[in-house]
């Protein structure tokens, strides 16, 4: 009844091609998307920001540092073939086949 609330909402959004991972650690809407998808993306990002705020406070780091570190992990493990990602250059790119997603320099 509420397909919206799903255990793997983020994975669903990525595979639907309507959203992609960004270098700043948040999901971004790719192109124009319905209100429902936008609400979904907002809902994921609200939770991510809350988690980043808590981890930043716990580790004495900056929220966007935690966010950026997460982005490194997400680029490395969660962006599937054919799914969108947006690097620090700000442009949406599609992952080609099994080639690794280029990571921002600071990812290490």
């Amino acid at each position: 009844a509420f397909a919206m609330y799903q255990a793997d909402a983020a994975a669903e959004l990525r595979s639907s091609g309507q959203a992609g991972e960004q270098a700043d650690g948040y999901l971004g809407v790719v192109g124009s998307a319905s209100g429902a998808v936008r609400a979904q993306v907002d809902s994921v990002n609200i939770k991510r920001r809350a988690y980043y705020t808590d981890l930043a406070a716990k580790r004495g780091a900056k929220i966007e540092e935690v966010a950026a570190t997460t982005a490194c992990e997400l680029f490395r493990t969660k962006v599937g073939p054919g799914q969108f990602y947006r690097g620090t250059d700000g442009a949406w790119k599609k992952r080609e086949g099994s080639a690794a997603v280029p990571l921002p320099s600071y990812c290490g």
Binding site: Q22, V29, R38, D42, I46, A50, T53, A57, T88
Partner: protein
């Protein structure tokens, strides 16, 4: 109850043989004496006797011509003589040639005989008798005068004593008396006790004739028992005693044959015939009779009978009559069968008939002509004519045709004649029936008048009987019924009936389909309009019974359609199929649909399957796949299953149901009620139940619904005792409205609401809130929210104005405490923020009134007014440990949010005119600042400014520009310690000190992602790189006229709670980062 005729015959033959043998013996003895008279000599007689080996003794008293007299004659063992006679006298008469014995006189004769294997033996006397000749027995032509003679006969059946006296010629003219007596006789299965008879005997031309009574204490044969029977017989026998004619009177205290009994019997019967067949009239009356369970008072039979003692066949054709018959138990059986009409509309007619039957059965008289034929192989009874009339006034007559026949042991019956019934509470009915053979098909017609009782009426059309294939009888009629049943009533119910009977108990009623019609059917306040329904048999027939099997049946109505009114609301009931079962007296409706209410406000109820059984009080059963929609309530109930009961028109339903929002898109996802109870009685619906989340079972709310079908008015209360939101249950599982607005909710929402509707429309109100809720919003986590929303239109999610919401803490990057917002929920998911107030850094943030539209993507404007922001408190709050400033700022930060994200447009913070101080006490990380850089840096150590204004513009998550205008002078040049030593140090020192006094005017533009600014402001410790980049190129060369504009840290404006919806930050190109701010944030 025919007696065993052959037994009767055997007993009488036995008595008949004994009698003539006595005479025979006497004659024999006398003839012997006479023959030897001539040579009368004692010795001669002795020799003769000795010759025949007969032991005898006698005294010759006188032998003279014409008369001889013997005395004390003893034949046989003297101690146990076979024959003794006191005196025997023979008188002779001389005829032509030979003397003839003209008269034998005997006195005091005692004879003893025994019957051994069917033959009579008199001991020694046998030797005197002529050997048995084959000729049939005939009386000898001999005159005798016998008195005081007796015979004691020992038979296998018992001892009989016979006394005799009489005079006359034995062949013709003898007149005398014979008496018999016996204590106990048992012949075959018959037992007589204290038998005695005394007959007048007359023999004319060799035919004996008896007349006189026979009495016995009791006569019983097999299970027939006559009590104190007395028989007055007047019979005459043929010469050979093998045929008889006469008549007899019979009386008996009573007769019993097994369980049947006749009381104080009296009557007479004639008999004429022989062992082959005897026939005669019979007229018998009993004071009382009991046959099986039927008992009567006086009963009489008179007619003709025929009996064949040899073969046991018997037949009776007689008029039979009985008065005061009670047939209680038999009637009770039939009355009981009528009771099976219980619960049906003709129940009271059935009861009236049963009562009439019972009253009639209590006492009625019956008379008729009967023919009975019977034998040990079976038999039959045929009633040719019958009139039965009861004190209750009921009267049944049967006449014409072949009458009613019943044969046993086959049990077949036959009805052929005219039956008429009337009076005593029975409907007048008459039938003309033809049934040619026993058990064969019946044809004919019958008419039954309509029956009426206590408001229920049954009218039967002409009943037609026709022969049908397979030796069955087809019966057709049409029943019209009006009457009450289980809390309701039906009128004008027309039920065509077609049945077939096979004559041995099997029947089939209603094969194929029958069109059933009714004019009106009401139950409680439900009134159904006239309807015609095709009732089709599902099995062999609507109702059928195989001979010896149980009654079975089943019917189905395909696509029934019923319309009518429930109270004042029109109702339409339909189903794909309606099945009836006979055994369970139940029904099963598949895809039932009920529409209730006026055209524009139709309440709907549908069920995939609706089954029920009829019990005493009404109907009850189960339902599956039920859905219901109340016109006025925007809720849909479906996927229901459970139990229901209907008494009169009071309906109760109880079971599981799912509740979903009919608005599209739904404002809440479907909830489930595990135990929803609904009751409908006299037009009012009352329902209640608790609603839970289907997946997690979380308890959401309790609801009570009341609805008046007549007025269309109703009310529903919603009570939310407390919805607990935590990791296991989130608002987005309950509704789509919170997705993308709030997440990770933790807290309890409670409240009460009410929905009311009437002809004018629907209103709803309620108050829902929480007293301690945390959640994550777009701008960051919020903790400790308290609010109570008073809805003026709950369903429209519209609230009263000035609702208060307080939040302990908003962690929007900057921690803002004790927010307090006044808001109002407007129609179409719009929120009017009337005001918002946050104490912040000594001052206050005030949110201007604005309207946020969450229904569709729209620009949301939030304008914050900053008043009295104390720079010192702000820096303390930001925990900039190496920066301090004073001064009070006011300003405005207008923010705009739309689906692309949030941005500040024309943000402006201005320090009040009395300015303030600014000093940076951190050390310098980037050493090659150059002289002027150092100068500027030192100026910052302690600067006095008179004007500080910050302009803020740009996207929250994108390019952001902050313009800072600052003019101030170093407050204490001394503090700007000259670099130590060396000429350059001196020059620099002096230049710097001059410079220090010069009023600086900074004009800084800060560019970068808002969030970065926001976050960085928190950990901004070391402005040196800031300074580095601030100094114009010129300042970097040594001692040119400094036009240094040392940067000053922009005291970041307090971060009001905003909503950057899309964090898709367009990151600026990655420039080498000059600043290495380290982390020293305190842990929140």
């Amino acid at each position: 109850m025919d007696e065993e005729p052959s037994q009767e015959v055997r007993r009488s033959r036995g008595k008949r043989l004994v009698l003539p043998s006595i005479l025979l013996v006497l004659v024999g003895v006398v003839a012997l004496l006479w023959a030897s008279r001539m040579r009368i000599a004692q010795d001669f007689l002795d020799r003769e006797l000795a010759r025949r080996g007969v032991q005898a003794s006698y005294d010759v008293e006188r032998i003279e011509f014409g008369r001889q007299r013997l005395a004390n004659l003893i034949i046989g063992d003297p101690r146990n003589p076979d024959l003794t006679a006191r005196t025997v006298e023979i008188r002779l008469s001389w005829g032509f040639r030979r003397p003839r014995v003209s008269m034998i006189t005997a006195r005091g004769v005692r004879l003893r005989g025994r019957v051994i294997d069917g033959r009579v033996s008199f001991g020694e006397v046998d030797k005197l008798l002529p050997p048995p000749s084959g000729a049939p027995f005939r009386f000898p032509a001999q005159a005798v005068d016998v008195a005081d003679a007796s015979l004691r006969l020992d038979t296998p059946w018992g001892r009989i004593g016979i006394g005799m006296e009489g005079k006359g010629n034995l062949a013709d003219g003898f007149r005398g008396k014979v008496a018999t007596a016996s204590q106990r006789l048992s012949i075959g299965t018959c037992r007589l006790s204290a038998l005695s008879s005394s007959w007048q005997v007359a023999i004319d031309d060799a035919k004996p004739r008896f007349a006189g009574p026979v009495r016995a204490a009791s006569l019983g044969c097999g299970d027939l028992l006559l009590d104190r029977p007395t028989l007055a017989i007047d019979a005459s026998l043929a010469e050979a005693l093998d045929a008889w004619r006469g008549k007899a009177e019979i009386t008996a205290g009573g007769a019993r044959l097994g369980a049947d009994a006749l009381g104080t019997l009296a009557g007479n019967f004639g008999f004429n015939g022989n062992a082959e067949a005897t026939r005669g009239e019979i007229a018998l009356a009993a004071q009382s009779a009991r046959v099986g369970q039927v008992a009567s008072g006086r009963a009489r039979v008179d007619g003709f009978y025929s009996l064949s003692p040899k073969t046991g066949q018997a037949s009776l054709k007689a008029n039979v009559g009985a008065r005061g018959i009670t047939a209680g138990p038999v009637v009770e059986g039939a009355a009981g069968a009528l009771a099976s009409l219980g619960g049906s509309p003709v129940e009271s007619v059935g009861e009236a008939l049963a009562a009439a039957l019972r009253r009639a059965g209590q006492s009625f008289d019956a008379a008729g002509a009967v023919r009975i034929v019977g034998g040990n192989g079976g038999g039959g009874i045929r009633i040719d004519r019958l009139v039965a009339s009861s004190r209750s006034g009921a009267r049944l007559t049967l006449k014409g045709g072949q009458g009613v026949t019943y044969a046993w042991p086959t049990g077949l019956s036959r009805i052929d004649g005219d039956l008429a019934l009337s009076g005593g509470g029975f409907p007048t009915a008459n039938f003309t029936l033809r049934q040619p053979e026993l058990g064969g098909p019946i044809s004919g017609e019958g008419r039954i008048a309509a029956m009426q009782a206590e408001g229920s009426r049954l009218a039967l059309g002409p009943v037609r009987f026709t022969a049908a294939p397979g030796e069955t009888t087809r019966v057709e009629t049409v029943a019209t019924i009006d009457g009450a049943f289980g809390g309701g009533s039906v009128s004008g119910l027309v039920l065509p009936i077609a049945a077939r009977f096979d004559g041995s108990g099997g029947f089939v009623v209603g094969e194929g389909c029958t069109a059933v019609r009714f004019r009106a059917l009401t139950t409680g306040t439900l009134r159904l309009a006239p309807a015609a329904l095709p009732l089709c048999a599902t099995g062999r027939a609507l109702v059928w019974k195989v001979p010896g099997g149980a009654v079975a049946g089943g019917a189905a109505i395909r696509a029934p359609r019923l319309t009518g009114h429930l109270g004042t609301s029109p109702i339409a009931i339909a189903a794909r199929r309606l099945d009836f079962g006979w055994e369970r007296r139940g029904f099963n409706a598949s895809s039932l649909s009920v529409r209730l209410g006026q055209a524009d406000a139709v309440n709907q109820l549908d069920a995939a399957s609706f089954t029920g059984t009829i019990d005493g009080r009404g109907l009850n059963g189960r339902y599956q796949g039920l859905s219901a929609k109340l016109a006025a309530v925007p809720l849909l109930l479906d996927d229901g299953s459970g139990r229901w009961s209907l008494v009169g028109s009071d309906l109760k339903m109880d079971g599981r149901i799912r509740v979903s929002d009919t608005v599209d898109p739904a404002r809440f996802y479907p909830l489930v009620a595990p135990q929803f109870r609904l009751a409908l009685s006299d037009g009012k619906i009352a329902a209640a139940g608790r609603l839970d989340d289907p997946e997690t079972g979380t308890h959401i709310l309790e609801t009570r619904i009341a609805h008046d079908l007549a007025t269309g008015r109703g009310r529903a209360t919603l009570d939310v005792p407390g919805i607990v939101f935590d990791e296991s249950y989130q608002p987005e599982q309950l509704t789509r409205l919170t997705t993308g607005v709030v997440a990770l909710v933790r807290g309890v929402l409670r409240g009460e609401g009410e929905i009311a509707w009437d002809e004018k429309g629907t209103t709803s109100s309620g108050a829902f809130g929480t007293d301690d809720m945390d959640f994550a919003a777009a701008f960051g986590p919020v903790e400790g929210v308290r609010t109570m929303v008073h809805f003026t239109d709950l369903l429209g999610l519209v609230s009263a104005p000035s609702q208060i919401a307080e939040a302990d803490l908003v962690r929007a990057g900057i921690d803002v405490f004790d927010g307090r917002v006044r808001y109002q929920l407007l129609p179409d998911l719009r929120v009017k923020v009337e005001s918002g107030k946050w104490p912040y850094a000594g001052g206050e943030l005030d949110l201007d009134e604005t309207i946020l539209d969450f229904a569709k993507p729209s620009t949301k404007a939030l304008t914050f007014r900053v008043t009295g922001l104390d720079a010192a408190r702000f820096i303390a709050q930001m925990e900039f440990s190496n920066l301090s400033a004073t001064g009070t700022f006011d300003g405005i930060i207008p923010m705009l949010f739309d689906e692309r994200g949030g941005r500040i447009v024309g943000g402006h913070l201005v320090a009040r005119e009395d300015g303030g101080t600014l000093s940076y006490v951190g050390e310098l990380t980037d050493k090659d600042l150059g002289a002027y850089g150092k100068l500027a840096f030192d100026a910052l150590k302690s600067m006095r400014y008179s004007k500080l204004a910050i302009n803020l513009d740009g996207a929250l998550d994108g390019e952001f520009v902050a313009g800072i205008e600052l003019d101030g002078i170093a407050r204490n040049p001394a503090l700007t310690a000259a670099p130590s030593g060396g000429i350059s140090g001196l020059v620099v020192g002096r230049a710097l000190s001059q410079l220090a006094k010069i009023p600086f005017e900074f004009n800084i533009a800060v560019r970068g992602p808002f969030r970065a600014l926001l976050a960085t402001a928190r950990s901004f410790e070391d402005p040196s790189n800031l300074i580095q980049s601030v100094l114009p190129e010129k300042l970097r060369e040594p001692p040119a006229i400094p036009t240094a504009d040392p940067a000053a840290p922009a005291p970041a404006p307090a971060e009001p709670p905003k909503r950057p919806p899309t964090p898709a930050a367009a990151l600026p190109a990655q420039a080498p980062s000059p600043v290495q701010p380290n982390e020293s944030e305190s842990v929140r």
